[in-house]
């Protein structure tokens, strides 16, 4: 009987050792792969940067490029639902915000809502924003602004704020 138990123990020990080796081997492989995955990420980021430059040059050359960004005023608790942008009377963007996106805006993020092309000279931008105020009442604002497009890329920053915050509900600045 003790001999049988000894044999069983030996088999179990061997199994355990094989299992441990297998786990150790997996872990080493996982580590090695992790290094290679990091390299692949780095490669793809490099490609993405070059591609973005090419795309910008090809699709949005500096002298016609216009980009519109949306941000929430610092500390504002407006629950933004949607933003619509028109340039020279033409709708160019209509965006509905997810919870994650709204959260990112509240944390200081800025969303590039539109990139396109316009001729040099004066243009009209109309921004319409809708959502809810912290007390649950509806928020709907619309404002028009004029901006001047020169030969360099034009960045238009739209900052939204609650109507009762003491700040303009929709403000536009050029960068």
């Amino acid at each position: 009987m003790p001999r049988i138990l000894g044999a069983v123990a030996a088999v179990l020990l061997a199994c355990w050792q094989v299992a441990a080796l297998a786990v150790g081997d997996d872990r080493e492989q996982m580590k090695g792969l992790d290094e290679q995955v990091q390299e692949a990420k780095s490669d793809v980021l490099g490609i993405a940067a070059e591609l973005a430059r090419l795309e910008e040059k090809l699709l949005y050359p500096s002298n016609t490029q216009v980009a519109v960004f949306v941000a929430l005023a610092a500390g504002d608790t407006l629950r933004l639902d949607a933003v619509r942008i028109q340039i020279d009377g033409q709708p160019v963007a209509h965006y509905i915000y997810s919870f994650k996106e709204l959260d990112a805006l509240r944390k200081g993020g800025v969303q590039r809502i539109y990139t396109g092309n316009v001729a040099t000279g004066q243009h009209q931008i109309e921004v319409t924003a809708s959502g809810k105020l912290p007390d649950g009442t509806d928020y709907s604002q619309s404002r028009s602004f004029t901006f001047e497009k020169g030969v360099e890329p034009k960045l238009v920053g739209v900052t939204l704020a609650s109507a009762d915050s003491g700040r303009p509900p929709i403000d536009v600045g050029g960068w």
Partner: protein
């Protein structure tokens, strides 16, 4: 202890967001804000792509102080490291932070960089390097990270097997508001590692009663109570163990283990009736959990101890049936994983739209491969492998989409070439004519400008004669020349008349000189506006003409190079993904095999116990039936 890195990671991200600009007032670089927007949603690839581009442009400038990113450069340099860390690119994150550390930066910034570097080393299981980085911290440390630095130091000491040093550090953190719960728990573990069991029990008891509101703090408090309860149970202090285990929340992540342990604590104290309360509760929960599977055996065991053999036999029977079903499910899972269905399920796009995708995945009908996903995710290796696999899938999809973009780019270029090439020769010919005229007029304008300027110091009234006056002067000169050799009286009179006429003209030119000069200047300024408008038009035309060419010429090499890079990267990513997928499957099957073995063992026990319980129940009935 494994929770500490994630806690630190969370703090790092919060710090990075906090370091971002307050919008509307402070933000100077919209693209930097865009990077933060992506990072705020956990889209680290996009945030890195944006920030890498911005930083690359910034560092390539001759005078970066005039760039809008200059206002945020400190935050941007840190954030890029943070984003890389969150995107699980430890090597690059380390390099980014080392660059800050070695740069000419103020003391608090350097110290924060050293802290972040230490954190990376700690996450990579390099505690000695982490300690070395922490030792570089000297002087002023930003207030927001002071406690985090010390908390990390404590964890590093523990990882290095220096629990005594960890105790000293963690004791100082017990009043830290942000680390409530974590510091208390880790101190208890450090004391335990240091062999100070009595003090460890007291500390874990304190950690188990801390007042915390956040989910992480509550979870660590539960963990302190579970560890404490287990320790006390093993040292036969059942009464105190019960108190600690009762403090674990019923809905928390440690609830199942605590209920199981609470049952064993009561059983060890001989209170089988009380043991049934947690075990019965546990037995009704999600059956894939290992604690629940154990409870299916434990509950009838308690009934048998209470001599309720009929109930015990019935529950053993139910356990036997459940184990059988679970074994079938585990086998189906293993089989499905081997067929490759598991990896297919993991990358389903619609699943990842849901924040609870892990739960949803498990609930999908006819997907045995994901039934034990929660159990698999508990394995660290599986978790790492899964994250890498999902990242690789994301890279693969991006690369595949870019590949198709090249064809679209080439179409655009071909269309533009087709549009411009027939038009440009005529336009260029017209332009050459216009260009010659433009240059001539510009030269004339410049000459006039120069002359008028010279006349301010050396007056030349003749330059300001009108066209009629010039004609008259010319005629007078001509007549004077004709009379040059004549000497008759009549001719003499004519010469005098010519001289008088010239004198009158000269008088007028000299007396009206200043008015005429002013008028000439006014006319020239009027001309300036026209010249300026023409120059603008000329430049605009030149620019538009250049852009017409630039819109379709010179892209072939760039597109060709990118196409090659994308192809190579796609091949590499697909190769890595296949290897990573295979490894995930292997680890998943290993974990499921281990689970299978445990189920088989439980099944054996249940099979033996059900027979025994029926036997005892029958004997009990017989003895009760006897008069």
């Amino acid at each position: 202890m494994r929770r500490a890195p994630s806690r630190l990671l969370g703090l790092g991200l919060a710090a990075s967001i906090a370091a971002g600009p307050a919008l509307g007032d402070d933000l100077r670089d919209l693209y930097f804000g865009e990077a933060i927007f992506h990072a705020g949603q956990g889209h680290y690839f996009d945030s890195l792509q944006r920030l890498d581009t911005e930083l690359g442009q910034y560092h390539g400038l001759d005078e970066p102080q005039y760039d809008t990113l200059h206002y945020h450069i400190g935050a941007a340099e840190f954030d890029v490291g943070d984003f890389e860390l969150n995107y699980r690119m430890h090597h690059r994150a380390g390099r980014a932070i080392r660059a800050v550390l070695e740069g000419d930066v103020p003391e608090p910034v350097r110290n924060e960089a050293a802290y972040r570097l230490a954190r990376i080393h700690f996450q990579k299981d390099q505690p000695a390097d982490a300690l070395q980085a922490l030792q570089r911290i000297d002087g002023e440390v930003p207030e927001g990270i002071r406690d985090d630095v010390e908390f990390l130091r404590g964890n590093v000491y523990m990882a290095l097997g220096r629990p005594g040093d960890a105790v000293a550090v963690l004791e100082r953190l017990q009043r830290s508001k942000d680390l409530t719960g974590f510091a208390a728990y880790n101190l208890g573990i450090a004391l335990l590692q240091d062999g100070r069991t009595g003090e460890a029990v007291e500390q874990l008891d304190r950690a188990g009663q801390v007042d915390v509101e956040d989910a992480g703090g509550r979870a660590i408090r539960d963990k302190a109570n579970l560890v404490l309860g287990t320790m006390l149970d093993e040292s036969a202090d059942h009464a105190r163990a019960r108190v600690a285990l009762d403090r674990v929340r019923l809905e928390g992540p440690f609830s199942n283990q605590a209920l199981l342990r609470a049952g064993w604590t009561e059983a060890a104290a001989g209170n089988f009736e009380r043991a049934l309360v947690p075990w019965n509760m546990l037995a009704a929960r999600e059956v894939t959990d290992s604690a629940v599977q154990e409870a299916l055996l434990a509950a009838p065991f308690a009934y048998s101890k209470l001599d309720v053999h009929g109930r015990a036999a019935s529950l053993y029977g139910r356990a036997l049936e459940t184990y059988g079903n679970e074994l079938e499910r585990v086998d189906a899972s293993i089989d499905s994983i081997r067929k490759g269905h598991f990896l297919e399920a993991l990358v389903r796009e619609e699943i990842h739209q849901d924040p609870n995708w892990v739960v949803r995945l498990r609930e999908l009908p006819a997907t045995p491969e994901t039934y034990y996903l929660m159990a698999l995710l508990a394995s660290h290796d599986f978790h790492t492998g899964l994250q890498n696999y999902l990242d690789l899938e994301d890279l693969r999809q991006r690369l595949a989409s870019w590949k198709t973009s090249f064809d679209a780019f080439e179409d655009i270029i071909a269309l533009r070439a087709g549009n411009y090439e027939p038009l440009l020769p005529d336009i260029d010919a017209s332009f050459r004519e216009f260009d010659a005229q433009f240059r001539l007029r510009m030269a004339q304008h410049e000459l006039l400008e120069r002359r008028l300027h010279g006349m301010l110091t050396a007056p030349r009234p003749d330059y300001l004669a009108t066209a009629d006056e010039r004609v008259v002067l010319e005629r007078l000169n001509r007549m004077e020349a004709q009379l040059a050799d004549a000497d008759s009286e009549q001719q003499q009179a004519l010469r005098e008349r010519i001289a008088r006429a010239r004198g009158t003209l000269t008088w007028r030119l000299h007396t009206e000189y200043h008015e005429r000069l002013t008028l000439a200047h006014e006319h020239l300024r009027e001309l300036d506006a026209v010249v300026e408008a023409t120059t603008r038009q000329y430049e605009s035309f030149v620019r538009t003409r250049q852009e017409a060419t630039h819109s379709y010429v010179g892209y072939d090499a760039a597109i060709g190079r990118l196409r090659q890079r994308v192809d190579a990267a796609l091949a590499k990513v697909e190769r890595l993904q296949a290897r990573q997928g295979h490894l995930i499957e292997t680890v998943a099957i290993d974990v499921l095999q281990a689970r299978r073995e445990r189920l088989v063992a439980y099944q054996e026990q249940a099979r033996f116990a059900v027979a025994d319980s029926y036997d005892r129940a029958t004997r009990q009935q017989t003895s009760e039936a006897r008069p």
